[in-house]
């Protein structure tokens, strides 16, 4: 069995090398690292927002010393014109009203929440410390998590399908039906090689963008989540590649997966867009599992891991079924 598995792994490696899969992964790794270190982190390195308060009647009694008072509405407008990242609070009518010159209140909850929190600095609510990350480290972990999720869910998925479509078009899958080997090894070899490749990618991406010291503490959790996502995507890719007629049909399925699977997850997790049904979206939980792993917070859901294992088992059964069907096909 080991001899057969080694032969299959060696062949799959050659297929991936000839399909430029590793080269493509390396290219993405360099691209992501450059983006994180020379783009995203610099862009996200914003100073604290200034908060300006116009409160002629003195209705706000307990304001933070971080708030800067202005003497008139005109002065508030003038200062916000100059400091476009700032947040204005107009309390002239008694009830505080937020004033922005960039963005809207709906899309900029962070700034709105921060500004309002400064009006009640000694309130009952105490901030809970959830981690000791610096803002830069937090930003690095967030973007690395997003890029890793995208890489495995979209790019790696495309890679496994491309390799299998190649073998399918050459008809060689059928030859394996009459070879003296356990047929499941053919699938196992592909899963192992894609899993290993995703794990190596996850390690390199995390080390390069989060740093060696932080990586060491979060790596086991990140690798576990990466493995779950990688197996689910690889099995989905195998099913699609075996079921669909050609790569053109696959690209349509790929578009559907990209639009309906990845987009809502990213929108919900990274923007102010609220999707009430997102908790029913399985990939949202997988994404959050990966994100929690980057911040060293284990998943508290009791159904998450059994759910992942069940999904992998169902997909594996599906792959075996379509694989057997493919072996029976004629020219």
């Amino acid at each position: 069995m080991w001899k057969s598995l080694c032969a299959l792994l060696k062949k799959d490696c050659r297929m991936m090398v000839s399909g430029k899969f590793f080269l493509m992964s390396l290219g993405f790794l360099v691209l992501y690292t450059l983006y994180v270190n020379f783009g995203y982190i610099r862009f996200m390195d914003a100073s604290l927002y200034n908060v300006y308060l116009y409160d002629p009647a003195g209705t706000q009694a307990t304001v933070s010393p971080l708030i800067q008072r202005v003497s008139s509405k005109e002065a508030l407008d003038a200062v916000l014109l100059d400091d476009t990242n700032g947040v204005g609070i107009d309390a002239s009518a008694g009830k505080p009203r937020l004033v922005f010159y960039e963005g809207t209140e709906q899309a900029d909850r962070h700034r709105a929440d921060y500004a309002l929190s400064l009006l009640q600095p000694s309130g009952n609510g105490r901030a809970q410390v959830v981690g000791s990350n610096t803002p830069e480290q937090k930003a690095r972990k967030e973007i690395t998590c997003e890029l890793l999720f995208f890489e495995i869910a979209a790019v790696g998925f495309l890679g496994i399908a491309a390799v299998l479509f190649k073998e399918k078009s050459m008809g060689v899958i059928r030859v394996h039906a009459i070879l003296p080997l356990q047929k499941n090894l053919f699938l196992l070899s592909k899963l192992v090689i894609f899993l290993l490749s995703d794990l190596v990618f996850a390690i390199l991406l995390t080390v390069l963008n989060v740093g060696l010291r932080d990586t060491a503490s979060i790596l086991p959790g990140v690798l576990l989540q990466t493995a779950l996502l990688s197996l689910i995507m690889a099995l989905t890719g195998l099913i699609c590649a075996l079921l669909l007629k050609d790569f053109r049909q696959f690209t349509l399925a790929y578009l559907l997966i990209a639009i309906f699977v990845a987009t809502p997850v990213f929108l919900s997790a990274n923007t102010a867009v609220k999707l009430d049904w997102i908790s029913f979206h399985p990939f949202y939980h997988i994404y959050m599992g990966l994100k929690n792993a980057y911040f060293g917070t284990p998943s508290k859901s009791v159904v998450y891991y059994p759910g992942c294992v069940a999904a992998i088992a169902v997909l594996l059964a599906g792959v075996q079924r379509v694989f057997r069907r493919e072996m029976k096909k004629e020219g």
Partner: protein, 282 residues
């Protein structure tokens, strides 16, 4: 080697592909399985090679019931040439053979170069990718894959398809050589010449049934009208006469100056196929 009794198979409830086949293939025999597309040839071969399961009737290979026969040990004993040359296009013939042979016990394998040379494969192409090969060369590389493991039972599906005439002659020689070694060959083909020249016995398949099964010679003889056509010259004129073959026992039974040619009116295997199945091989 192969024993099939009342073999039935259905792809779905209303699509029965095989209707009770009965045949045996002896050790070292070349058995031809002839039939048009959709007649059930490939289905039968897939059942025998363990690709299709869920058949009815009794099938045994190597003296063992088929349900227990499809083990790794079974696959080590068979070689299969598919109708199309399925190979890794990005690998060379040598690398393809190295890969496919890696699943067999080493002591069972033939030398890759020896097999390729036997198939008159151009040495320049040994290490070039299959994508650069002609159709004939791909077929040779595929045949090499089927032969590399020294199989005891060889399933050949249209072995000479895609080959030029000299390639087809070479393949027939190799199949003959395999028979001399004691290999049993199950040959599925449309090619009547291959069947006629190679097979010890042939089965005519149509609509999932075996319509006739015998040696090619017997099938033709049984249906021969035992007549010969003689072209000859007599008194400066070219003439033709049809006579009963037994009349030749005492020599040419009519006056002539010179015999130009004698043609037996024995039917071809294709004529026999049409007669038994009511259709041609297409």
């Amino acid at each position: 080697m192969i024993e099939v009794k009342n073999l039935t198979f259905s792809y779905s409830k209303d699509k029965q592909a095989l209707h009770g086949l009965d045949f045996t293939v002896e050790d070292g025999e070349i058995f031809g399985f002839l039939g048009p597309n959709g007649s059930g040839k490939s289905t039968t071969q897939k059942i025998l090679t363990g690709i299709l399961k869920g058949h009815g009737g009794r099938v045994s290979l190597f003296g063992q019931d088929i349900s227990a026969a499809h083990t790794q040990a079974f696959f080590q004993k068979i070689g299969v040439l598919f109708e199309f040359p399925y190979l890794y296009a990005n690998l060379s013939a040598v690398d393809n053979l190295k890969y496919f042979s890696s699943f067999y016990p080493r002591e069972q394998l033939r030398r890759i170069e020896e097999v390729l040379e036997e198939l008159e494969f151009k040495p320049d192409f040994f290490k070039k990718p299959v994508s650069s090969y002609s159709k004939g060369m791909r077929q040779r590389a595929s045949m090499a894959r089927a032969l590399i493991s020294n199989p005891k039972l060889l399933f050949l599906d249209e072995p000479t398809s895609g080959l030029d005439p000299s390639g087809a002659v070479l393949f027939r020689k190799i199949i003959e050589k395999e028979r001399k070694k004691g290999t049993t060959v199950f040959l599925t083909t449309h090619n009547m010449l291959d069947a006629d020249l190679l097979c010890d016995r042939v089965a005519f398949m149509a609509d999932g049934e075996i319509k006739a099964l015998d040696t090619p010679g017997n099938l033709k003889e049984r249906n021969s009208n035992h007549r010969v056509i003689i072209n000859y010259l007599y008194q400066g004129r070219r003439e033709e006469k049809t006579i009963e073959a037994p009349e030749l026992k005492t020599g040419i039974p009519f006056a002539h100056d010179e015999i130009i040619s004698i043609h037996s009116q024995e039917p071809t295997l294709e004529d026999m196929f049409i007669q038994y199945t009511g259709r041609g091989l297409s």
